[in-house]
Symmetry: C3
Subunit: 131 residues, 3 copies
Amino acid sequence: MERLTITTRSHEEMVDITSAVQEVVSRSGVRDGMCCIFAPHTTAGVTLNENWDPDVRHDLLVSLDDMAPASPQHRHAEGNSPAHVKASLCGSSAIVFIEDGRLQLGRWQGIYLAEFDGPRRRQVWVKVVSA
Amino acid sequence: MERLTITTRSHEEMVDITSAVQEVVSRSGVRDGMCCIFAPHTTAGVTLNENWDPDVRHDLLVSLDDMAPASPQHRHAEGNSPAHVKASLCGSSAIVFIEDGRLQLGRWQGIYLAEFDGPRRRQVWVKVVSA
Amino acid sequence: MERLTITTRSHEEMVDITSAVQEVVSRSGVRDGMCCIFAPHTTAGVTLNENWDPDVRHDLLVSLDDMAPASPQHRHAEGNSPAHVKASLCGSSAIVFIEDGRLQLGRWQGIYLAEFDGPRRRQVWVKVVSA
Protein backbone atom coordinates (compact mmCIF):
# COMPACT_ATOMS: atom_id res chain seq x y z
CA MET A 1 0.00 0.00 0.00
CA GLU A 2 1.30 3.41 -0.96
CA ARG A 3 0.23 6.67 0.64
CA LEU A 4 -0.09 9.67 -1.67
CA THR A 5 -0.39 13.18 -0.29
CA ILE A 6 -2.67 15.56 -2.15
CA THR A 7 -2.93 19.26 -1.33
CA THR A 8 -6.35 20.61 -2.23
CA ARG A 9 -6.70 24.31 -3.08
CA SER A 10 -10.42 25.03 -2.78
CA HIS A 11 -13.31 24.35 -0.45
CA GLU A 12 -14.73 21.94 -3.01
CA GLU A 13 -12.68 20.44 -5.78
CA MET A 14 -12.22 17.37 -7.94
CA VAL A 15 -8.50 16.54 -8.10
CA ASP A 16 -7.43 14.29 -10.97
CA ILE A 17 -5.22 11.59 -9.43
CA THR A 18 -5.17 9.21 -12.41
CA SER A 19 -1.49 9.73 -13.26
CA ALA A 20 -0.40 9.43 -9.65
CA VAL A 21 -2.32 6.15 -9.30
CA GLN A 22 -0.84 4.84 -12.57
CA GLU A 23 2.62 5.58 -11.18
CA VAL A 24 1.88 3.41 -8.15
CA VAL A 25 0.73 0.62 -10.45
CA SER A 26 3.89 0.95 -12.55
CA ARG A 27 6.14 0.90 -9.47
CA SER A 28 4.37 -2.24 -8.22
CA GLY A 29 5.39 -4.23 -11.29
CA VAL A 30 1.95 -5.87 -11.38
CA ARG A 31 0.90 -6.60 -14.97
CA ASP A 32 -2.51 -8.14 -14.37
CA GLY A 33 -4.68 -7.44 -11.36
CA MET A 34 -6.71 -4.83 -9.57
CA CYS A 35 -5.96 -1.44 -8.10
CA CYS A 36 -7.90 -0.14 -5.13
CA ILE A 37 -7.89 3.57 -4.29
CA PHE A 38 -8.98 4.60 -0.79
CA ALA A 39 -9.55 8.00 0.83
CA PRO A 40 -9.01 7.84 4.64
CA HIS A 41 -11.29 10.85 5.17
CA THR A 42 -14.90 11.55 6.08
CA THR A 43 -15.32 14.85 4.20
CA ALA A 44 -13.63 13.76 0.97
CA GLY A 45 -14.20 10.75 -1.27
CA VAL A 46 -13.02 8.99 -4.39
CA THR A 47 -14.99 8.86 -7.61
CA LEU A 48 -14.52 8.15 -11.30
CA ASN A 49 -15.91 10.61 -13.79
CA GLU A 50 -15.17 12.50 -17.00
CA ASN A 51 -11.52 13.37 -17.60
CA TRP A 52 -12.01 15.69 -20.55
CA ASP A 53 -14.35 18.63 -20.01
CA PRO A 54 -13.64 20.27 -16.61
CA ASP A 55 -17.21 21.61 -16.69
CA VAL A 56 -18.42 18.12 -15.77
CA ARG A 57 -16.51 18.30 -12.49
CA HIS A 58 -17.93 21.76 -11.85
CA ASP A 59 -21.45 20.52 -12.56
CA LEU A 60 -21.00 17.48 -10.31
CA LEU A 61 -20.04 19.75 -7.40
CA VAL A 62 -22.99 22.06 -8.16
CA SER A 63 -25.43 19.16 -8.14
CA LEU A 64 -24.03 17.70 -4.92
CA ASP A 65 -24.39 21.15 -3.31
CA ASP A 66 -28.03 21.31 -4.39
CA MET A 67 -28.64 17.76 -3.19
CA ALA A 68 -27.04 18.03 0.23
CA PRO A 69 -27.37 21.62 1.45
CA ALA A 70 -26.91 22.77 5.03
CA SER A 71 -30.09 21.99 6.95
CA PRO A 72 -31.61 23.49 10.12
CA GLN A 73 -32.02 19.88 11.27
CA HIS A 74 -28.27 19.28 11.21
CA ARG A 75 -26.71 19.06 14.67
CA HIS A 76 -22.98 18.53 14.02
CA ALA A 77 -21.31 21.55 15.59
CA GLU A 78 -18.52 21.82 13.04
CA GLY A 79 -21.08 22.87 10.43
CA ASN A 80 -19.63 20.65 7.71
CA SER A 81 -22.33 17.99 7.62
CA PRO A 82 -22.94 18.50 3.88
CA ALA A 83 -19.30 17.49 3.29
CA HIS A 84 -19.81 14.31 5.32
CA VAL A 85 -22.93 13.49 3.31
CA LYS A 86 -21.18 14.02 -0.02
CA ALA A 87 -18.30 11.79 1.08
CA SER A 88 -20.75 8.93 1.67
CA LEU A 89 -22.53 9.64 -1.64
CA CYS A 90 -19.27 9.37 -3.61
CA GLY A 91 -17.85 6.61 -1.46
CA SER A 92 -14.42 6.22 0.07
CA SER A 93 -12.94 3.86 -2.49
CA ALA A 94 -12.78 2.87 -6.15
CA ILE A 95 -11.55 -0.19 -7.96
CA VAL A 96 -9.88 -0.23 -11.37
CA PHE A 97 -8.61 -3.30 -13.22
CA ILE A 98 -5.02 -3.61 -14.45
CA GLU A 99 -3.90 -5.23 -17.72
CA ASP A 100 -0.39 -5.10 -19.17
CA GLY A 101 0.59 -2.92 -16.25
CA ARG A 102 -1.96 -0.21 -17.14
CA LEU A 103 -5.10 0.97 -15.38
CA GLN A 104 -8.07 -0.10 -17.49
CA LEU A 105 -10.31 2.94 -17.64
CA GLY A 106 -13.01 3.89 -20.09
CA ARG A 107 -12.02 6.47 -22.68
CA TRP A 108 -13.56 9.36 -20.73
CA GLN A 109 -12.83 8.15 -17.20
CA GLY A 110 -10.42 9.69 -14.74
CA ILE A 111 -9.92 8.96 -11.05
CA TYR A 112 -10.71 11.85 -8.71
CA LEU A 113 -10.21 12.78 -5.11
CA ALA A 114 -13.43 14.65 -4.36
CA GLU A 115 -12.68 17.36 -1.79
CA PHE A 116 -15.76 18.66 0.02
CA ASP A 117 -14.23 20.52 2.97
CA GLY A 118 -10.91 21.96 1.86
CA PRO A 119 -8.47 23.33 1.29
CA ARG A 120 -6.50 20.69 3.18
CA ARG A 121 -3.69 18.20 2.99
CA ARG A 122 -5.33 14.91 2.08
CA GLN A 123 -4.13 11.38 1.65
CA VAL A 124 -5.04 8.76 -0.90
CA TRP A 125 -4.00 5.19 -0.23
CA VAL A 126 -3.43 2.86 -3.17
CA LYS A 127 -3.09 -0.90 -3.12
CA VAL A 128 -2.27 -3.07 -6.12
CA VAL A 129 -3.26 -6.72 -6.07
CA SER A 130 -1.92 -9.26 -8.54
CA ALA A 131 -4.57 -11.53 -10.09
CA MET B 1 -11.15 -9.82 -17.29
CA GLU B 2 -14.11 -10.31 -19.60
CA ARG B 3 -15.83 -7.55 -21.52
CA LEU B 4 -19.60 -7.81 -21.85
CA THR B 5 -21.51 -5.67 -24.31
CA ILE B 6 -24.92 -4.41 -23.24
CA THR B 7 -27.30 -2.59 -25.55
CA THR B 8 -29.57 -0.25 -23.62
CA ARG B 9 -32.99 0.61 -25.05
CA SER B 10 -34.07 3.74 -23.17
CA HIS B 11 -32.67 7.06 -22.06
CA GLU B 12 -32.67 5.79 -18.48
CA GLU B 13 -32.82 2.15 -17.59
CA MET B 14 -31.69 -0.46 -15.08
CA VAL B 15 -30.45 -3.52 -16.98
CA ASP B 16 -30.25 -6.75 -14.99
CA ILE B 17 -26.82 -8.24 -15.69
CA THR B 18 -26.80 -10.83 -12.88
CA SER B 19 -27.02 -13.88 -15.18
CA ALA B 20 -24.37 -12.55 -17.52
CA VAL B 21 -22.02 -11.95 -14.59
CA GLN B 22 -22.73 -15.43 -13.19
CA GLU B 23 -21.77 -16.89 -16.58
CA VAL B 24 -18.40 -15.14 -16.38
CA VAL B 25 -17.89 -16.57 -12.90
CA SER B 26 -18.82 -20.06 -14.12
CA ARG B 27 -16.47 -19.82 -17.10
CA SER B 28 -13.63 -18.72 -14.80
CA GLY B 29 -13.78 -21.95 -12.83
CA VAL B 30 -13.23 -20.02 -9.60
CA ARG B 31 -15.07 -21.68 -6.68
CA ASP B 32 -14.20 -19.30 -3.88
CA GLY B 33 -13.31 -15.66 -4.36
CA MET B 34 -14.60 -12.28 -5.39
CA CYS B 35 -16.16 -10.89 -8.51
CA CYS B 36 -15.71 -7.26 -9.46
CA ILE B 37 -18.04 -5.60 -11.97
CA PHE B 38 -16.89 -2.35 -13.58
CA ALA B 39 -18.62 0.11 -15.95
CA PRO B 40 -16.07 1.99 -18.09
CA HIS B 41 -18.48 4.91 -18.57
CA THR B 42 -19.17 8.30 -17.03
CA THR B 43 -22.92 8.47 -17.68
CA ALA B 44 -23.76 4.92 -16.57
CA GLY B 45 -22.91 3.04 -13.39
CA VAL B 46 -23.25 -0.26 -11.61
CA THR B 47 -25.49 -0.85 -8.62
CA LEU B 48 -27.12 -3.68 -6.70
CA ASN B 49 -30.81 -3.44 -5.94
CA GLU B 50 -34.07 -5.38 -5.89
CA ASN B 51 -34.41 -8.12 -8.48
CA TRP B 52 -38.08 -8.86 -7.99
CA ASP B 53 -40.46 -5.94 -8.39
CA PRO B 54 -39.51 -3.86 -11.47
CA ASP B 55 -41.25 -0.90 -9.84
CA VAL B 56 -38.26 -0.53 -7.54
CA ARG B 57 -36.01 0.15 -10.54
CA HIS B 58 -38.56 2.64 -11.86
CA ASP B 59 -38.72 4.38 -8.50
CA LEU B 60 -34.93 4.51 -8.20
CA LEU B 61 -34.70 6.29 -11.56
CA VAL B 62 -37.51 8.67 -10.54
CA SER B 63 -35.74 9.58 -7.31
CA LEU B 64 -32.38 10.09 -9.01
CA ASP B 65 -34.10 12.40 -11.52
CA ASP B 66 -35.59 14.41 -8.68
CA MET B 67 -32.27 14.51 -6.87
CA ALA B 68 -30.07 15.54 -9.78
CA PRO B 69 -32.14 17.63 -12.21
CA ALA B 70 -30.72 19.84 -14.93
CA SER B 71 -29.57 23.09 -13.35
CA PRO B 72 -29.08 26.60 -14.80
CA GLN B 73 -25.69 26.52 -13.06
CA HIS B 74 -24.53 23.57 -15.16
CA ARG B 75 -21.94 24.47 -17.79
CA HIS B 76 -21.22 21.20 -19.62
CA ALA B 77 -22.24 21.86 -23.21
CA GLU B 78 -23.47 18.34 -23.92
CA GLY B 79 -26.37 18.93 -21.53
CA ASN B 80 -26.05 15.54 -19.87
CA SER B 81 -24.59 16.62 -16.55
CA PRO B 82 -27.39 14.94 -14.58
CA ALA B 83 -26.28 11.62 -16.10
CA HIS B 84 -22.70 12.24 -14.97
CA VAL B 85 -23.90 13.05 -11.46
CA LYS B 86 -26.01 9.91 -11.26
CA ALA B 87 -23.06 7.79 -12.43
CA SER B 88 -20.99 9.05 -9.50
CA LEU B 89 -23.90 8.54 -7.08
CA CYS B 90 -24.27 4.87 -8.10
CA GLY B 91 -20.56 4.32 -8.56
CA SER B 92 -18.66 2.64 -11.35
CA SER B 93 -18.13 -0.74 -9.71
CA ALA B 94 -19.58 -3.38 -7.44
CA ILE B 95 -18.11 -6.35 -5.61
CA VAL B 96 -19.84 -9.66 -5.00
CA PHE B 97 -18.36 -12.66 -3.18
CA ILE B 98 -18.20 -16.13 -4.74
CA GLU B 99 -18.73 -19.44 -2.93
CA ASP B 100 -19.05 -22.84 -4.58
CA GLY B 101 -18.74 -21.10 -7.92
CA ARG B 102 -21.87 -18.97 -7.32
CA LEU B 103 -22.30 -15.25 -6.81
CA GLN B 104 -23.34 -14.71 -3.20
CA LEU B 105 -26.19 -12.22 -3.36
CA GLY B 106 -28.94 -11.47 -0.91
CA ARG B 107 -32.32 -12.99 -1.70
CA TRP B 108 -33.64 -9.81 -3.31
CA GLN B 109 -30.41 -8.52 -4.87
CA GLY B 110 -29.63 -8.29 -8.54
CA ILE B 111 -26.70 -6.63 -10.31
CA TYR B 112 -27.65 -3.72 -12.58
CA LEU B 113 -26.05 -1.62 -15.22
CA ALA B 114 -27.64 1.77 -14.56
CA GLU B 115 -28.01 3.63 -17.84
CA PHE B 116 -28.50 7.39 -17.47
CA ASP B 117 -27.83 8.64 -21.00
CA GLY B 118 -28.98 6.00 -23.43
CA PRO B 119 -29.90 4.30 -25.51
CA ARG B 120 -26.33 3.21 -26.27
CA ARG B 121 -24.00 0.28 -26.61
CA ARG B 122 -22.34 -0.08 -23.22
CA GLN B 123 -19.66 -2.32 -21.80
CA VAL B 124 -19.40 -4.01 -18.46
CA TRP B 125 -16.04 -5.45 -17.45
CA VAL B 126 -15.95 -8.38 -15.07
CA LYS B 127 -12.97 -9.76 -13.19
CA VAL B 128 -12.99 -12.85 -11.02
CA VAL B 129 -10.34 -13.23 -8.33
CA SER B 130 -9.66 -16.49 -6.53
CA ALA B 131 -9.39 -16.21 -2.74
CA MET C 1 -16.37 -15.30 4.21
CA GLU C 2 -17.95 -14.71 7.59
CA ARG C 3 -21.58 -13.78 8.12
CA LEU C 4 -22.31 -11.32 10.91
CA THR C 5 -25.83 -10.79 12.20
CA ILE C 6 -26.79 -7.25 13.19
CA THR C 7 -30.06 -6.39 14.88
CA THR C 8 -31.11 -2.85 14.09
CA ARG C 9 -33.32 -0.96 16.57
CA SER C 10 -34.76 1.93 14.57
CA HIS C 11 -36.36 2.61 11.22
CA GLU C 12 -33.20 4.41 10.14
CA GLU C 13 -29.90 3.95 11.87
CA MET C 14 -26.15 3.87 11.35
CA VAL C 15 -24.72 0.86 13.19
CA ASP C 16 -20.99 0.97 13.90
CA ILE C 17 -19.59 -2.43 12.84
CA THR C 18 -15.90 -1.50 12.89
CA SER C 19 -15.00 -3.68 15.88
CA ALA C 20 -16.94 -6.65 14.56
CA VAL C 21 -15.16 -6.37 11.21
CA GLN C 22 -11.77 -6.07 12.94
CA GLU C 23 -12.55 -9.29 14.82
CA VAL C 24 -13.11 -11.09 11.52
CA VAL C 25 -9.78 -9.76 10.26
CA SER C 26 -8.03 -10.90 13.44
CA ARG C 27 -9.59 -14.37 13.25
CA SER C 28 -8.48 -14.69 9.62
CA GLY C 29 -4.82 -14.35 10.56
CA VAL C 30 -4.22 -12.18 7.49
CA ARG C 31 -1.53 -9.57 8.19
CA ASP C 32 -1.47 -7.75 4.87
CA GLY C 33 -4.37 -7.58 2.47
CA MET C 34 -7.84 -6.23 1.92
CA CYS C 35 -11.13 -6.60 3.72
CA CYS C 36 -14.41 -6.39 1.84
CA ILE C 37 -17.66 -5.72 3.70
CA PHE C 38 -20.92 -6.56 1.92
CA ALA C 39 -24.58 -6.00 2.84
CA PRO C 40 -26.87 -8.60 1.18
CA HIS C 41 -29.85 -6.23 1.36
CA THR C 42 -31.64 -3.75 -0.86
CA THR C 43 -32.88 -1.37 1.84
CA ALA C 44 -29.64 -1.17 3.82
CA GLY C 45 -26.10 -0.40 2.75
CA VAL C 46 -22.53 -0.09 3.95
CA THR C 47 -20.69 3.20 4.26
CA LEU C 48 -17.66 4.70 5.96
CA ASN C 49 -18.08 7.93 7.87
CA GLU C 50 -17.21 9.75 11.09
CA ASN C 51 -16.74 7.56 14.15
CA TRP C 52 -16.56 10.32 16.74
CA ASP C 53 -19.54 12.70 16.85
CA PRO C 54 -22.83 10.74 16.59
CA ASP C 55 -24.44 13.93 15.27
CA VAL C 56 -22.74 13.27 11.94
CA ARG C 57 -24.65 10.00 11.56
CA HIS C 58 -27.86 11.80 12.51
CA ASP C 59 -27.18 14.51 9.94
CA LEU C 60 -26.37 11.97 7.23
CA LEU C 61 -29.74 10.28 7.76
CA VAL C 62 -31.49 13.68 7.75
CA SER C 63 -29.86 14.66 4.45
CA LEU C 64 -30.65 11.33 2.81
CA ASP C 65 -34.29 11.75 3.90
CA ASP C 66 -34.40 15.20 2.33
CA MET C 67 -32.71 13.91 -0.83
CA ALA C 68 -34.86 10.83 -1.39
CA PRO C 69 -38.34 11.50 -0.01
CA ALA C 70 -41.43 9.47 -0.82
CA SER C 71 -42.72 10.59 -4.21
CA PRO C 72 -46.20 10.43 -5.79
CA GLN C 73 -44.43 8.99 -8.85
CA HIS C 74 -43.23 5.96 -6.88
CA ARG C 75 -45.04 2.74 -7.78
CA HIS C 76 -43.50 0.09 -5.49
CA ALA C 77 -46.42 -1.15 -3.39
CA GLU C 78 -44.39 -1.78 -0.25
CA GLY C 79 -43.93 1.97 0.12
CA ASN C 80 -40.25 1.72 1.00
CA SER C 81 -38.77 3.03 -2.24
CA PRO C 82 -36.82 5.76 -0.43
CA ALA C 83 -34.99 3.01 1.48
CA HIS C 84 -34.09 1.28 -1.80
CA VAL C 85 -32.78 4.55 -3.21
CA LYS C 86 -30.65 5.26 -0.15
CA ALA C 87 -29.18 1.74 -0.31
CA SER C 88 -27.95 2.42 -3.86
CA LEU C 89 -26.64 5.86 -2.86
CA CYS C 90 -24.53 4.39 -0.04
CA GLY C 91 -23.65 1.24 -1.92
CA SER C 92 -23.72 -2.38 -0.85
CA SER C 93 -20.02 -2.80 -0.10
CA ALA C 94 -16.88 -1.15 1.21
CA ILE C 95 -13.22 -2.02 0.99
CA VAL C 96 -10.63 -1.38 3.69
CA PHE C 97 -6.92 -2.25 3.51
CA ILE C 98 -5.20 -4.40 6.14
CA GLU C 99 -1.65 -3.92 7.46
CA ASP C 100 -0.10 -5.74 10.41
CA GLY C 101 -3.44 -7.47 10.89
CA ARG C 102 -5.29 -4.18 11.44
CA LEU C 103 -7.92 -2.42 9.36
CA GLN C 104 -6.34 0.72 7.95
CA LEU C 105 -8.89 3.46 8.50
CA GLY C 106 -8.48 7.20 8.67
CA ARG C 107 -8.47 8.70 12.14
CA TRP C 108 -12.16 9.66 12.01
CA GLN C 109 -13.45 6.74 9.94
CA GLY C 110 -15.73 3.99 11.13
CA ILE C 111 -17.52 1.28 9.15
CA TYR C 112 -21.31 1.46 9.27
CA LEU C 113 -24.26 -0.67 8.35
CA ALA C 114 -26.75 1.94 7.15
CA GLU C 115 -30.25 0.76 7.97
CA PHE C 116 -33.00 2.49 6.00
CA ASP C 117 -35.99 0.22 6.61
CA GLY C 118 -35.69 -1.25 10.10
CA PRO C 119 -35.84 -2.38 12.69
CA ARG C 120 -34.77 -5.78 11.33
CA ARG C 121 -32.28 -8.58 11.61
CA ARG C 122 -29.61 -7.81 9.05
CA GLN C 123 -26.51 -9.57 7.84
CA VAL C 124 -23.12 -8.23 6.95
CA TRP C 125 -20.75 -10.51 5.05
CA VAL C 126 -17.02 -10.00 5.45
CA LYS C 127 -14.25 -11.44 3.33
CA VAL C 128 -10.55 -11.04 4.00
CA VAL C 129 -8.11 -11.42 1.13
CA SER C 130 -4.37 -11.83 1.63
CA ALA C 131 -2.20 -9.63 -0.60
